[in-house]
Amino acid sequence: MSKTHKMVLLGIMISLALALHIFEGFIPLSGIMPPGAKLGLANVVTLAAIMAFGFKEALAVVLLRTLLGSMFGGGLMVFWYSIAGGVLSTAVMSMMYKRYRASFSLAGISIAGGVCHNIGQLLVFAVMASTGGVFAYLPALIIAGVATGYFVGLVASFLEKYIKGIYNFHL
């Protein structure tokens, strides 16, 4: 794959992730989901980037999406805890995909990523609020993370065969 080809694909991925990130902000979830839980739709794109390229590229997609996402709405504090969750979940998902691909399904990888995202966020919460009390929300967030992570993983597994195809694509 040429450098330009890769750059264009990453650009598309970042804009897709950003659009999903902003879109899910419009979906009201209060009352259904525990505080702080999100659908994590943008995680589909993170998984796609991991499948197509690898950890470094996926991390770039996550960092830029979070940066742009908090510029469009969110602010500095939201940026910090999104980035903590994003980096942790990307690292865990990449490692699972690269090393233990044989023993995990994509849904499993996505679920682990979702739960790690919540753990990363809560760590920043706990440090900034200097209280461990926020970890009381972790069990509820794990349940939410498993539910949303499963569907995100399902979407990613539908994408899998098309992503394998990008390496055979020539203009």
Binding site: S30, G31, S103, F104, S105, M128, S130, P139, I142
Partner: protein, 127 residues
């Protein structure tokens, strides 16, 4: 479903049982009782609410120095953030809290509301 997935399910289930077990213990068996609530903004104590004040109804607005507001609601020993102009509304979605150690956090406004608790000793039961 692969081998690793089953392992993941077991690990998550264990974490859930441990987590909910701890919360259940805190709420049902722990010998602490709520002694009021404490509200902190940017690490500094903004207001302390005693347990008697917690019983009476009150609604007040906290103006955040860096801009914004949170409307706090107290009712029958419970406290919540009723409304806020922060971006993520996590504080509002947390809802009512009343048990020692429960926390509401509004990170964009650096606001923390925590129920304070004190270990209940035998003396306090014998009055």
């Amino acid at each position: 479903m692969k081998k690793g997935d089953k392992l993941l399910i077991i690990v998550l289930a264990a974490a859930l049982i441990a987590g909910y077990g701890t919360i259940y213990y805190r709420d049902h068996f722990s010998q602490t009782r709520a002694t009021g609530a404490i509200i902190k903004v940017d690490g500094k104590v903004y207001k302390t609410i005693s347990s008697s004040q917690m019983q009476s109804d009150a609604t007040f607005t906290i103006d955040i120095p860096t801009g914004g507001y949170n409307v706090v609601d107290i009712n029958g020993g419970r406290i919540r953030v009723k409304a806020a102009d922060c971006r993520d509304k996590i504080c509002v979605n947390t809802g009512w809290i009343s048990k020692p150690g429960e926390t509401i956090v509004c990170l964009p406004h650096r606001l923390i509301i925590q129920i304070t608790g004190q270990a209940q000793d035998i003396d306090s039961l014998s009055y």
